[in-house]
Symmetry: C2
Subunit: 198 residues, 2 copies
């Protein structure tokens, strides 16, 4: 069966984003520094980036589709990823408001799932064509899948910065048992792959 | 000049100890799992352990000398490390209550410093005989030295466990800039060495 992976970049103090996220400041105050490794060290981090982008299907929370800090959605809202989102694969969006699938350019189709995380995973597995399914975020979605024991590999990309406030990945996650299987890094990031122990 | 190092074992969610630390449960609930790597994988982690134990002098907070959860100290209290503490070197204890040095077996002498972190560091540097000075903890002491920009190398030993509550290392630490210089690990720990950028 396909593996379920989850790649997340966190600060050294465990935040996925800084405080006061908004559409104009999507990663919150200080949060843009989290992702310097993906832009400034593209070659050195090629394997990690390839790992993030090679899944057969993605699952994300409603806020990650809508855009940070977005209120109720207009039915015409096509997500904040632009007309050609970077996924190039089926994306399953957890929502309370079902709507028809939204086909974007470049192979990304947003599918809206209103009946829970397990249903979204079953649909994503089926759509992934044997490739991995990635939990793309945000924090709340990752926490739900971690707490439910549905993630096989958590790949943390730890940026050497302290954000001090924001949204923490692991707050409230219980019964999570992990085993590091591989570590590597550069001056802007430490990659740790964790296998979950069920 | 001697380097100032700080070795700390933290949970994946950033805690140095679990909740409800006491003399009978010094690492708090769940906290003993933090240090499994030092006991169960002694050989695989020999270099990291050697790094912790090779300093020329140590600095610790009052609570780390007194013992977790200890109230006001009897003047006769000889610390909770037993008659032969594992330091085998001068140890400088930050306190508000000066007292004469306390010479233990095996080369450890506890010196009590009541005039602040910079004074303790100057005394430790002088006593270290050219070797490194280690900030031994606890969380509050490490935070004070980190915030003051007095630590040259932070060596985190990240245990793959989630404690959920307890004492966090980095809460309230500001203006800390770090650069990872080396990563390694085993199934019970991920070692990351960080150089501080002043």
């Amino acid at each position: 069966m396909n593996s379920v992976t989850c790649d997340l970049t966190v600060s050294l103090d465990g935040f996925l984003a800084g405080p006061n996220q908004s559409l104009t400041n999507p990663l919150g105050e200080g949060g843009e520094d989290l992702h310097r490794w993906q832009f400034e060290e593209l070659e050195a981090n090629a394997a990690a980036i390839e790992g993030i982008l090679s899944s057969g299907a993605y699952i994300m929370g409603r806020n990650m589709f809508a855009g940070p800090g977005q209120g109720p959605l207009d039915e015409d809202w096509r997500g904040w990823w632009g007309e050609e989102p970077p996924y190039h694969a089926p994306v399953f969006v957890l929502t309370h408001h079902p709507r028809p699938p939204l086909e974007m350019q470049g192979g990304t189709t947003f599918n809206f799932v209103a009946d829970g995380v397990e249903s979204a995973l079953a649909q994503a597995r089926s759509a992934a064509g044997g490739k991995d399914v990635a939990i793309a975020g945000g924090a709340n979605t990752a926490r739900q899948y971690l707490s439910a024991g549905l993630i096989d590999e958590l790949r943390l990309h730890i940026a050497p910065i302290v954000l001090g406030a924001g949204e923490r990945l692991l707050d409230g996650v219980e019964n999570l048992r992990l085993e590091p299987t591989e570590v590597s890094g550069t001056r802007l990031v430490t990659h740790v792959r964790y296998r979950t122990i069920h």
